[in-house]
């Protein structure tokens, strides 16, 4: 097991190298703007632009720039400085991480709770009224774009301009350490909006696998033992059906930790996702690299955690 994890971690390093290389190549093949011009301000003289270009190292070939970037990253864990405002990319990212982690973990709780509850109840009585309504609702939730859902939620429930003044609106996020109550209330809508699609997907996924599991021989054995229906479904059935849900949850959490761009934008939450959007708008390569690498790292680690969890979830799985 340890050997397996070590090998996977080494692969993670290779993967992150490839990801950053691709990001560099894309940036130079398809530049969104000239960072030096953006940095120079209004009506800059060509000399100023050229000077900034030298200052940022943009005058050298991209291969040399990439080598420098990698060198600093590997030797000093230095992600460079923003082209835009000279801020340290590393500190920018660490500053934004708490908001993204708050959003992602809260949403994970919401979507797992809702998805598992709906999936179990639907699977226990397929074709029932509840099942039909839940699965119809799930289809709507999967189809609805997150930014649209977010705007509708704000329109209905935001305390500034909403129809019903229920929850704090966009831009109300405060860090947990400043004001826990405000932190919680401001995140209720973003959590629900971000979780809605995932909850719908998980409800459908769990419903399908649980129906399949409940037809297995070992469920018949559980009934033959005289166990109560609740125990048969929630212990024997759910335990057998939960594996794909855990897999999906791990990977999806990794994706959301890399930045829920749409949700963060709609609710104006200062997280990694919005940092990435701003970086792209500013053609701020070091910041783009930083956010991309953080996102990739989360996804790769989430996959690794899921694979390790497998061995605990299914005693038949053994890594060597």
């Amino acid at each position: 097991m340890t050997g397996y994890v070590v090998r996977r971690l080494l692969w993670t390093v290779v993967l992150l190298f490839v990801v950053s290389l691709i990001t560099f190549v894309i940036f130079y093949l398809l530049p969104s703007a000239d960072p030096a011009v953006l940095r120079a301000g209004r009506n800059p003289s060509p000399e100023v632009v050229a000077q900034i270009r030298v200052q940022l190292g943009l005058d050298r070939p991209w291969t040399v720039q990439f080598a420098h970037y990698l060198g600093r990253l590997v030797l000093h864990f230095d992600l460079g400085y923003s082209y835009h405002n000279d801020a340290s990319v590393k500190s920018e990212i660490f500053e934004r991480l708490p908001a993204t982690i708050s959003l992602a973990l809260g949403a994970l709780v919401v979507w797992l709770t809702a998805g598992i509850a709906i999936g179990v109840i639907s699977a226990m009585r397929p074709g029932s009224v509840f099942d039909r309504i839940a699965m119809g609702g799930a289809l709507v939730a999967i189809s609805a774009p997150v930014y649209w859902l977010g705007l509708v939620a704000l329109y209905l429930f935001a305390d500034d301009f909403g129809v019903l003044h229920v929850f704090p609106g966009a831009g109300s996020y405060v860090p947990l350490t400043h004001d826990p109550v405000r932190w919680f209330t401001s995140l209720i809508m973003p959590w629900c909006v971000l979780a809605s699609t995932y909850a719908a997907i998980y409800a459908r996924l769990l419903r399908a696998t649980l129906i399949e599991t409940l037809s297995q021989d070992f469920i018949r054995t559980a009934r033959a033992k005289g166990l109560r229906q609740r125990r048969v479904v929630l212990r024997h059935g759910l335990r057998g059906a939960i594996t794909p849900v855990v897999t999906a949850a791990g990977v999806d959490l990794g994706v959301v930790l890399g930045g829920a761009i749409l949700t963060e934008s709609v609710f104006n939450i200062p997280g990694i996702g919005r940092l990435a959007v701003d970086a792209i708008n500013d053609a701020d390569l070091p910041l783009i690299q930083g956010t991309v690498l953080v996102g990739a790292l989360f996804i790769v680690l989430a996959n690794l955690v899921v694979d390790v969890l497998y061995a605990f979830l299914d005693p038949r799985v053994r890594y060597s």
Binding site: D217, F218, T221, A224, K225, G226, H236, R239, L313
Partner: protein
Amino acid sequence: MSVAETPLLAVRDLQVSFDTADGVVHAVDGVSFDVRAGRTLGIVGESGSGKTVSVLTIMGLTRAPHTRIAGSIRLAGRELATATQDELRRVRGDEVAMIFQDPLSSLHPYFKIADQLVEAVRAHRAVGRGEALRRALELLDLVGIPDARRRAAGYPHELSGGMRQRVMIAMALVNDPKLLIADEPTTALDVTVQAQILELLGRMQAERGMAIVIVSHDLGVVAGLAHDVAVMYAGQIVEQAPAATLFSAPEHPYTWGLLRSMPRLDRPREEDLVAIPGRPPSLIHRPGGCRFHPRCPYVREAHRRVQPELVADGDPQHLTACLLEGPQRRALWARLRAGDAPPPPTTGPPPTTAPPPTTGPPPRPSAPAEPPAAPPVPPPAEPSPAPPVPPPAEPSPGPPVPPPAEPSPGPPVPPPAEPSPGPPVPPPAEPEP
């Protein structure tokens, strides 16, 4: 059944049908049997004969929105067919326990063996985990699992097939059930392991005095364990008798087919095994009359219309649902035992005595009732000039027996060459719920 001895399990006119998209599947159709304490009933039949559905229904495990169950199932005087789900749940795993065909898929792959047994104990006994575990280990030890404590800490996939079935048996017996239902308990196991499991079941019964219902498609499995045997076909019992009687003097043509399709060490190796021609009928569109008539070599016209009843003919413990006369059946079996050629319902050697049918539609290969012109099987009691077979092993009834219901004028066996009026009952795959 004697009146003095009330059976532990009494099933009366059990009917189970499932509503499916293709129609109503009549899986069990009027099944009745008794099992007394300490006795073993074997239920045999092909796939789809309704044997598994019958025993699952005893456990209440076939109950579902699209299932209809009628009849009576009395366990120790208590009615189970109409019991509530919760009453049934209390009975399951406590008074009646069950083991299944494939022990690997029947054990939960993610739970440790000890946990699965402890759970079975605590579903019915208000005991702590330690006490339940002690009981579980005791049972694992009893069913012959070496180093039970270590095995119990493992998962089902870490055991061999035979050990898994022993675990299933231990789990079934952990609450001392009065009745153990074994549904094809050895089918998924190696032959040598099969014998061990059957021996274990017999030993457990001898030690605990419980009743066993064992379901199998394999007469050999049933022969080793059962005191009584019921043969099922298309949802009905077609023959029922004490095991010794059934194996020595079977009376139903279907039972003959089952016996002749079974390899035996006491028969010459050259002797061919005879498969029963055709397939089990659809349980949605069942054949009229005797359910077995499309596959029966001795079918007569009346058998397509009249449903036989399960009745005794002589021996009150030997029940047969066949429209052939008792003496005639016994003579036919005697001839089959003597190694007479198998009666071919569809094909056979070219006719030597009877002329081929000249009227009617040409013979269809699938038509079940083509005349098996040769060899002729005479009705037993007719004074045939030269009896070609040795006398039957069973003492044939002394007085001359009246000829079969249908007067056959000249040739001895005339299963009429009736072209079946309807379609010859295509048997689709049985839904085994």
